[in-house]
């Protein structure tokens, strides 16, 4: 029996792959799958399987997986439903380590499909092969050259994502580059007849490329195992879950109070709380959380300092802070003195949050701004800094690219930041400004471990996620009975 680690190593970084259903007809899914890994720069052996072709997209084609002369680590099956069982058997006989079944139309269609799933599972077990899917688009791993999308950007990152929806797996990758979020691994799990959510999460715990794990889940078969897995993983790596189908279960008629009180999503929330799993309610929140958590330096406090332009924005930011249970940090006396000397603050005003007009932010090629950031970063009372810059006034009277470049170059002075910094670059949604924002992010900020968000609310939400995980970490060993 191929163990889970071997199977998933083969799924993410296979030495060789067979694509069963690969085709020269480029409108077919099997053709696209081959084209995508090819374009992505996969460097192992590719064996297309197609009984009707000599060659597929330039590669020698095989009638059957059994005809392939070399070892096959990973097989992808992209065939009409009725042919899948037979091919699974052939893969198993061949000694394939893991078969990913793209084809759909099994358990999700009813009893007949469930029966076929059982048969596939039996034959796989008999030969020791593992199965991903069916009804899934597969795996994405830049360091293994494996992909399921047309996204051409093979940037390696430290975020892993496990998705029960193929569409969302797609979105996750296609949103990566434009959100400055990069992945170690993404997987579409499908019907989970063999390998399931818990297998993937457990694998990612030991995966040194992965720092943060995101999960889109609609349902799991073995909830107790998931609970156990999460308990094991979250003390080491933050896990963020978006649960789909929070309210869809409908109200079965229940005959007890307990039944009424313990609705399905309430139980999931209990799971999240018990296992210190972070949870979000939309993919936007998911992206924000993952982006921030990848840079987290664990800190159990919730003290935040804010600086940026826009008086109304500062007022609203302060509200959101309190609503997210973040505390505005009380700065150290020495920091306050320094801010006074810089002329930023006076008496008790403008200390935290600091409202800095656009012209002051960009003054001296950003040196004043960096100086303030440095004061905040060295203040022991501060755990998180949020800086927010509205790019619109900047773009009105200066060259935005040059200005941002000068400013953020200064950040090199902020060596060894011992606080968590989150940046917000606000735009009006103008594609040109968005491009400048993304450029500044990629060129300067992400290399310094500063996640960049689009709104102050997002930035604060990201910080609240970091703080929540920080608290969980700090609280790891505390027994609640002890303090009663």
């Amino acid at each position: 029996m191929t163990n889970t680690k071997e199977a998933l190593d083969a799924a993410f970084k296979p030495k060789s792959i067979a694509i069963i259903g690969a085709s020269n007809n480029m409108s077919k899914l099997g053709a696209a799958d081959l084209r995508k890994v090819n374009d992505f720069g996969y460097s192992g052996n590719i064996f297309p399987v197609n009984p009707n072709e000599e060659k597929v997209q330039g590669y020698k084609a095989y009638k059957s997986v059994l005809d392939i002369p070399d070892e096959v680590d990973r097989a992808v099956i992209i065939l009409p439903t009725k042919h899948v069982l037979k091919v699974v058997k052939e893969c198993a006989e061949k000694g394939v380590k893991v078969a990913q079944i793209y084809s759909a139309g099994f358990g999700e269609f009813g009893e007949h499909g469930k029966k076929i799933e059982q048969d596939m599972l039996s034959v796989a077990k008999q030969y020791g092969m593992r199965i991903i899917g069916p009804n899934c688009i597969g795996t994405y791993c830049p360091s293994g050259g494996i992909t399921f999308t047309d996204s051409k950007n093979p940037v390696k990152g430290s975020i892993a994502f496990v998705s029960q929806s193929g569409g969302i797996a797609h979105d996750v990758v296609s949103n990566g580059d434009t959100h400055d979020i990069y992945y170690s691994k993404v997987i579409s799990v499908g019907n989970c007849i063999d390998l399931d959510h818990s297998d993937f999460i457990e694998y990612l715990l030991d995966d040194s490329d992965t720092k943060v794990i995101g999960l889109y889940v609609e349902s799991v078969k073995n909830g107790k195992r998931l609970a156990k897995t999460l308990s094991k993983v979250t003390p080491n790596k933050p896990v963020v879950i978006l649960k789909g189908g929070r309210t869809s279960a409908g109200n079965k008629s229940v005959s007890s109070h307990t039944g009424n009180l313990a609705g399905d999503y309430e139980v999931w929330k209990a799971l999240f709380n018990q296992t210190n799993t972070l949870y979000v309610h939309s993919m936007e929140e998911m992206f924000t959380a993952l982006k921030c958590l990848q840079y987290l330096q664990v800190n159990e406090n919730r003290n935040i300092a804010m600086i940026g332009n826009g008086g109304g924005a500062s007022v609203l930011a302060t509200d959101v802070c309190e609503e997210l249970w973040l505390d505005l940090a009380q700065l150290e006396e020495s920091s306050i003195d320094e801010l006074h000397q810089l002329g930023v603050s006076e008496s008790n005003h403008n200390i935290n949050p600091i409202d800095l007009p656009a012209r002051a932010i960009t003054a001296n090629e950003g040196q004043t701004f960096t100086k303030i950031m440095s004061i905040l970063a060295n203040d022991n009372n501060i755990s998180y800094i949020l800086f927010h810059i509205n790019l619109i006034p900047l773009s009105n009277y200066m060259n935005l690219r040059e200005t941002l470049s000068n400013m953020f170059k200064q950040f090199d002075l902020l060596d060894d930041l011992n606080v968590n910094v989150v940046g917000v670059l606000r735009t009006n949604g103008d594609p040109k400004l968005i491009e400048e924002k993304l450029n500044a992010t990629k060129s300067f900020l992400s290399s310094k471990g500063i996640p960049v968000l689009s709104t102050i609310e997002q930035g604060l939400f990201g910080i609240s996620m970091m703080a929540r995980h920080g608290e969980n970490e700090a609280r790891k060993e505390v027994s609640y009975a002890a303090d009663y």
């Binding site: 909830g223 005959s255 007890s256 109070h257 313990a262 399905d264 139980v267 609640y480 002890a482 009663y484």
Partner: protein, 227 residues
């Protein structure tokens, strides 16, 4: 994944209380009586005031039709209650053949009424629900949920996270309640539903929690099992 038969059984109070006893879950003193004279005899051995409840497979919601009599302060009250309960049941179309008898119980009071519930979730198995009883649960939905297995420290956390927790903790100079006994009861309930795999739903409602050191007692119980 669903079992082919979904038939569920509501255990009667006597069966349910035997199960509680087996797992050391404290309950108020009671006895089961088939006849009026048995009821009197039981009452003689208990401390007044008493409660009487009908036991019948035909009657699910006992209090809805006069199947429960509270505050019985004498043997005379007990005798009258027995007759009334039978008459009420008859009036609602339940014949004497379908009445197994009555339980006679000591009526308890304490610092607060609490709820301990369990629901067998299709995905996660036994889910424990704890809260303050009555309106706190029903109108305010003030409950904490936990998926079994639960550590003792997490059970404390669940209890302390209740909005109504101050009511157990000496709120406004009132008596501090026996929270450790409540936590102990929750643990035992968890053991019980883990061992007794057929239990699908359980309500201990109310549980009477007494002053710190004086324990807590389940005074009503409702258990639903798979057939």
């Amino acid at each position: 994944m669903q079992p082919t038969t979904n038939k569920k059984i509501l255990l009667n109070e006597v069966e349910s209380r035997k199960l509680l006893k087996k797992y050391g879950i404290q309950q108020n003193e009671y006895g089961f009586a088939k006849t009026k004279s048995e009821a009197k005899e039981i009452a003689n051995n208990l401390t007044l005031p008493l409660v009487m409840k009908v036991v019948s497979p035909k009657i699910v919601h006992k209090s809805n039709f006069g199947g429960v009599k509270l505050g019985l302060n004498s043997l005379k009250d007990v005798v009258e209650a027995f007759d009334e309960i039978n008459a009420n049941a008859n009036n609602f179309g339940v014949s004497n053949i379908d009445i197994d008898g009555v339980t006679v119980q000591e009526m308890e009071s304490g610092v607060q009424e609490l709820l301990i519930g369990v629901k067998k979730d299709d995905t996660f198995g036994n889910v424990l629900v704890v809260g303050l009883g009555g309106v706190f649960v029903e109108l305010m939905k003030d409950v904490s949920l936990g998926i079994s297995p639960l550590s003792e420290s997490y059970i404390y956390k669940m209890v302390k996270n209740l909005k109504g927790f101050p009511l157990l903790d000496g709120y406004r100079g009132t008596e501090r309640a026996d929270v450790p006994a409540f936590v102990e009861m929750i643990k035992r309930v968890e053991v019980m539903v883990t061992e007794e795999d057929k239990v699908e739903e359980l309500d201990l409602n109310p549980v009477i929690i007494k002053r710190n050191g004086d324990g807590c007692l389940a005074v009503d119980v409702r258990i639903i099992t798979r057939a």
